[in-house]
Amino acid sequence: MNDYPRDAAAIVGVGHTEFSKNIGRPERTIALEAIKMALDDAGLTAKDVDGLVKFSLENTMEVEIVRNLGIPNLSFFGDVGYGGGAGCGAVGHAAMAIATGVAETVVVWRARNRGSGGRPWATRPTNKQPGEMQWFLPFGLSRPVDQIAMLTRRHMIEYGTTQEHLGHVATSVREHATRNPNAMMRKPMTMDDYLAARWVSEPLRLFDCCLESDGALAFVLTTPERAAALKQPAVLVRAASQGIGPDHLVMANYFTANPLDTPARYAAQELWRLAGMGPDEIDCAQFYDAFSPLIVISLEEYGFCKPGEGGPFAAEGNLKLGGALPSNTSGSSLSEAYVHGMNLILEGVRQLRGTSTSQVENCENVLVTSGNGVPTSSLVLRKP
């Protein structure tokens, strides 16, 4: 087997719209805005772009990007599936195309008006449920929050994880958001505030859930050689991984030998192997947090602590700036915005450029992860 091409592509441009409940512009428009900003940030133009990678759920097709932006010749394009599991994998696919010479400059984007749009679980057709939905929707297990709450309850049963543990996760992330002008939720939150919030799906409360947001983000990647001559400090893709474990069946998957081993456990093992490093070399992490318990589970799956220790790890203040593993330093999905985890990648880049509003000192290596409940992906980003 060939050696894995570590550090063979670099993120050289980032772009994003504002994050809000109702952005007032269509997804196609904000996708184009974010891509144009990312190219401007890099000092590149549409003429330089020969590759596009998008989420399978993305509503704006490549042809729309090509004909609006004026890309003269697109020679590489691809999709990565499974909603929130796709973000890091899309960047990974772009990096692979660059590493192999299939493309030189690739744009990855996600645009999603989920704040102003309909609620997928409320507007889903309510007659015959196909595929995996036949096993949970007829019983009213209808929202992602219900599906993750079921896993959370089991984590509480097996390990003694508490609501206060989740409260420490939510309040740590909010503390970071208070310093981030892009964040939608900047009001300080105490443990009392957290515990007083209404239930959504017991054992999860309102502040365990990500925000419903509109917004778009884009990233430009190219070769490290070309990156060295561009406007911004390059951020190298050290490694990217994807993962699906045995017998997995997306969100409401309680059918495997141990459902607490989510696809992230498999993505994590592969990530550390490909990156040639381990969790002890990571200076800060951006964990996918559609729901607060996913940070607890990720801490365990990515090897920052043993199974069952994720809650106490958060309660000891380790996720905060100055803690053992400053995490989700932008406020992320719980407090900045929920754009299918793409703002976690943005924050990873900011940490390595030294421009985070919760900057980690001497930050060299950053872990970014995508959704755990679904087939997933992850990234190690680093300074050259």
């Binding site: 595929g131 939905m133 096993w135 009213g140 219900d146 017998d247």
Partner: protein
């Protein structure tokens, strides 16, 4: 015309049709590999252990224990709004497979991990019955 919001019902496919057909008769069947005998749920065309397409349908005990549960609060799907907050459970059957259902005849606050439960049928429309659960009697 009924003004009741439609309840989601299972959409059987080639692999799951025998399961739901038996449910309509209030019989709980599990799919087993016709080659190596391994039980599998949810049903699928191929055995992940031996890759056989052969299959058999075997009666389940209808007994199990609560493995996990949630209490869903509003806003929920319109078809479930009048019962919120309501429970959804994962049951671990004595055979070792897990299914999703609702625990009937039980106040939400009395649900506990490991509670012994048994199958109870809920007829939701003509020809459609769901395997549900109640405390073992």
């Amino acid at each position: 015309m009924s003004s009741q919001p439609l309840r989601p019902v299972p959409g059987p496919d080639d692999a799951s049709e025998p399961f739901w057909e038996a449910c309509a008769r209030h019989v709980l069947l599990l799919q087993a590999c016709g080659g190596c005998g391994t039980l599998r749920f949810p049903p699928r065309p191929m055995c992940p252990r031996c890759n056989s397409f052969e299959q058999a349908w075997v009666p389940a005990s209808g007994r199990g224990r609560v493995w996990s549960w949630v209490i869903a609060h509003p806003p929920v799907l319109p078809a479930f709004a009048d019962r919120a907050p309501y429970n959804v459970i994962v049951v671990e059957l004595d055979e070792g497979v897990r299914m999703i259902g609702n625990l009937l005849e039980t106040p939400n606050e009395e649900i506990a991990e490991g509670m012994p439960i048994e199958v109870a049928w809920e007829d939701v429309e003509d020809g459609v019955s769901l395997p549900q659960w109640r405390p073992t009697q």
